[in-house]
């Protein structure tokens, strides 16, 4: 048998392997035998590193010598909500330097929550001759100067996607750096940019790139210029408008409406800042083809939303503000039978009182009417166990369920009980649940349900919940597939953490902030678990200056084969095996 496995020439095996793209499968292939390991590592073209500190660039390069596409993630998810102090880390620089030397044929770089500078961007633009795809998701540290370098030097660029990154806007002229003979743009997402980009340059760029499929404009692009762009790119599949407002004028309207009608391939719409409802009908002609609609910046009222969404019978993904109201969600449930994903964002998250009639009822309606619903992110102000149980029974195919009841500790508004049994029903009925975010009044019981039923759960977010270490223990000991756990403001301390120390090596990361973990426990974990980095993040100064039993502020634990990192700022402490507290 072994003889047969090795009897194919390497080229044949490599060809067979090329049909296997999934990372897990390729990892499995590499464990079959030495020869397969060797062939597989030489032919792996795409690498995903979920935590940039879990491994060093050199280790990746040593194993996979000819990578064309790399994806890296940096900061923990809670950095999105300002819980990770600035300067914590996530610098891509060492990766870019190493890859510039080792991967001259690198084509794609995708980064999430990382710090990338203009120098890094310039190095990318000059090091990789065949560079095609740059996706910077929630990144920061660079300016439009860095973008200019990319535009000027990357002759084969297909994709430039800055989704939700924080870019220092020095000028809109960077767009002019695309050479006149550059025509290969397929996807451009500049929605996060604050400044005006040079519109004439944009028009010319759009006009000369026949393969452009995705164009996400920023708010500064005025509505009356949109028609011109659309007429130059009628093949667009995904469009993000700029500000959707202008004086209501029939000529502007009909121009826009005609331009939209000409886009026969358009399937996804977003943008819609500052919407003037009078202009919404301009998109009606294409609504029936839309599969994705992001109205989460559109501050329009329910009747206008209903008129629009009611025409989108093929909608699969809808993002919207709570202005849609329960009534609007009823309409969605009736019209959008193919809906897979719903996100409802709050229009007034800090107001003490509800400002719109959006309650749990809207979500219940959707769960009843949309049989393909799999993914939910829902902000609301009231919830009941009954509603959650109904949703769970209606939608056992749910895979992502994130509920944010805006006021921490809100109980079932009908019974004033905790929402334990409601969420318990969710994990019990939705057997394929991969991601869950909890909110409302919750005791240790909900965690017992999660530990018992949520066997496929990979990511769990917890805030202001639980009563004791038992809660954390249930999750760590019960959720077999857990990879990412993030917790804030819960009374979880050392016991569950230490009792489940080995579990932490099977996960990508654990975040705990404003809990009851002591520095003593952190030191113990750091000493005993060499393959974990235990980072104590505390802006009050060195934890040694307080009693060892004093709770630390923030804790980030992640598995790594690269040892402690060298770029920690002054407010991050880590513990190595010598049990001496180490600064970076």
């Amino acid at each position: 048998m072994q003889r047969m496995a090795c009897s194919f020439p390497d080229e044949v095996l490599e060809h067979v392997f090329s049909f296997v793209q999934c990372d897990n499968d390729r990892n499995a292939i590499s464990t079959v035998c030495k020869s397969w390991y060797k062939i597989e590592r030489w032919s792996r073209r795409r690498v995903f590193v979920g935590n940039c500190y879990a491994i060093s660039p050199d280790m990746v390069i040593r194993r996979f010598p000819d990578v064309r596409s790399i994806e890296l993630k940096g900061k923990p998810h809670f950095a999105d909500f300002n819980l990770v102090p600035d300067g914590w880390g996530g610098y891509v620089a060492p990766w870019i330097s190493a890859m510039a030397a080792a991967y001259p044929w690198l084509e794609e770089i995708r980064l999430k929550r990382m710090v990338i500078t203009d120098e890094n961007l310039e190095l990318i633009s000059k090091s990789f001759k065949n560079f095609k795809v740059l996706v910077l998701s929630s990144c920061e540290g660079f300016s439009t100067d860095g973008l200019a370098a990319i535009a000027a030097n990357c002759r084969n660029l297909r994709e430039l996607d800055l989704r939700e990154s924080e870019v220092e806007d020095l000028s809109g002229h960077w767009l002019k750096h695309f050479p006149d003979d550059y025509t290969s743009l397929v996807s451009l997402n500049i929605a996060c940019l604050g400044c005006e980009v040079s519109f004439s340059a944009l028009e010319r760029l759009v006009g000369r790139c026949p393969n452009l499929r995705t164009l996400r404009l920023n708010r500064a692009v005025p509505l009356d210029k949109l028609a011109n762009l659309l007429r130059r790119a009628p093949q667009l599949v995904e469009l993000g408008t700029g500000a959707y407002s202008s004086e209501l004028r029939p000529d502007v309207f009909s121009n826009l409406s005609g331009a939209f009608s000409g886009c026969k391939e358009l399937k996804s719409l977003s943008g819609f800042w500052d919407v003037v409802p009078g202009y919404l009908p301009a998109v009606y002609p294409i609504c029936c083809r839309l599969t994705t609609l992001n109205l989460s910046y559109a501050t329009i009222q329910s009747p206008d939303l209903i008129k629009l969404v009611g025409q989108c019978q093929n909608l699969q993904r809808l993002w919207v503000l709570d202005y849609i109201e329960d009534a609007g969600l009823d309409a969605v449930a009736a019209s959008c039978k193919d809906l897979r994903e719903l996100r409802v964002f709050p229009s007034d998250p800090y107001g003490p009182e509800p400002n719109v009639p959006l309650t749990e009822q809207g979500l219940v309606s959707i769960s009843e009417g949309c049989s393909k619903l799999q993914s939910v992110l829902y902000f609301c102000r009231q919830m009941s166990n009954a509603a959650l149980m109904t949703i769970a029974r209606n939608r056992p195919n749910m895979t992502r369920f994130r509920l944010c009841i805006i006021e921490p500790g809100t109980p079932d508004y009908l019974t004033l009980q905790p929402l334990d049994v409601g969420f318990g029903a969710i994990v019990e009925h939705c057997k394929d649940l991969q991601r869950l975010s909890l909110s409302g009044l919750l005791t240790d019981l909900v965690f017992e349900y999660i530990g018992t039923y949520a066997k496929k759960l990979e990511m769990l977010s917890v805030a202001f919940a639980g009563e004791s270490d038992l809660g954390l223990h249930h999750v760590l000991s019960g959720c077999e597939k857990l990879r990412k756990l993030e917790i804030r403001d819960c009374p979880f301390g050392d016991k569950a953490l230490l009792a489940n120390a080995a579990k932490l090596e099977t996960m990508r990361s654990l975040w705990m902030s404003s809990c009851s973990v002591t520095f003593g426990a952190c030191k113990l974990l750091g000493q005993k678990m060499p393959r974990l980095n235990v980072e104590v993040i505390d802006e009050r100064g060195t934890p040694d200056s307080r009693p060892e039993s004093c709770p630390i502020d923030k804790l980030y634990i992640y598995r790594t084969v690269a040892g402690s990192r060298f770029d920690m700022p002054g407010f991050v402490w880590t513990i190595d095996e010598d049990s001496a507290m180490r600064l970076s």
Binding site: E164, L441, D444, E448, P491
Partner: protein, 298 residues
């Protein structure tokens, strides 16, 4: 993975929330325990409450009809194994807003808590920059704006935003970057959590006192730049050798403290803790004898 299960050990029964993972249960093959440290903790356990505030848990947020008392059971403990879990009640408030005050103050408690509700900054900025007015009013105000000025929406607050704030309807975090001369890594501070210059200055001093002393201790010899640790003396009066400045919407650098707080909030884009020696021409205070030119009026 822990093999302790509910059936095996009545201590873990969830009905009895005051039970806890007994010390001995933690000595599992794969688990760790604090052991000696626990005893030491007991000795150090001071009077409850001490100088620390509590961790806020769900029970701290009052709701209508609550029948539970306000007593917080954090990591519960039996009498014999108090350990660090009971000290979880004692929690030093970090520079965040988890103080007893904010609990008392808030029946909109969420407005005081960092990062809650979990909405990303760019989305909050977008909401803040759009008026929460009925559509027609938005339309009218936009007509006025488009006639008066260029339609580009900058990073600063728009008119609509100011209206919303004055109505008290919408508050958000206002994180701005802060850089200090001599320290390569910048920080961010949430201006909306402050009401006056003094608390802001104090917060910045705390933030950068840590950074600068640590920077000194690690990199003292190698680092070329001499970073003086900020002493308790105030940033606002420049007596520490540094002054606090900010960049306003028009891109000019101004001294912090000259204008009313509300005006400052509406025009600040970022902060810089500047060496006093470099702050010439900015601050009348530093050039009193020269009668230096006043900052341009806002």
């Amino acid at each position: 993975m822990s093999t302790v299960s509910k059936e095996d050990n009545p201590v873990l029964s969830s009905e009895d929330s005051s039970s806890c993972l007994d010390e001995s249960e933690l000595e599992l093959g794969l688990g760790l325990s604090l052991g000696v440290g626990v005893g030491a903790c007991k000795a150090q356990q001071g009077p409850r409450g001490g100088q620390y505030a509590r961790i806020l848990t769900a029970k701290d947020f009052p709701y209508v009809g609550s029948s539970t008392s306000a007593s917080v059971s954090s990591s519960s403990s039996s009498s014999s194994s108090s350990s660090s879990s009971s000290l979880s009640r004692a929690n030093v408030t970090a520079g965040t807003k988890r103080s007893a005050d904010s609990v008392a103050a808030a029946n909109g408690a969420s407005s005081q808590v960092v990062g809650w509700p979990p909405i990303r900054a760019y989305r909050m900025n977008s909401l803040v920059n759009q008026a929460k007015l009925p559509a027609t009013e938005v339309f009218n105000s936009l007509i006025v704006k488009s006639r008066n000025s260029n339609p580009a929406v900058g990073k600063g607050t728009s008119n609509a935003c100011v209206n919303a704030n004055e109505k008290g309807q919408l508050r958000s975090s206002l994180f701005v970057k802060v850089n200090m001369d001599g320290i390569p890594i910048g920080r961010k501070v949430d201006l909306s959590s402050h009401r006056c210059y003094e608390t802001l200055a104090q917060k910045l001093e705390d933030m950068f006192a840590t950074s600068s002393t640590i920077m000194n201790s690690i990199r003292g010899e190698e680092h070329d730049m001499m970073v003086d640790a900020i002493t308790p003396s105030k940033l606002l009066d420049g007596s520490s050798g540094f002054v606090l400045t900010y960049e306003d919407k028009e891109g000019d650098w101004m001294l912090v403290g000259d204008v009313p707080w509300g005006m400052f909030i509406n025009s600040v884009r970022r902060l810089r803790i500047m060496r006093a020696s470099e702050a010439n021409g900015l601050a009348p205070r530093l050039e009193e004898s020269n009668g230096g030119q006043r900052n341009k009026p806002i």
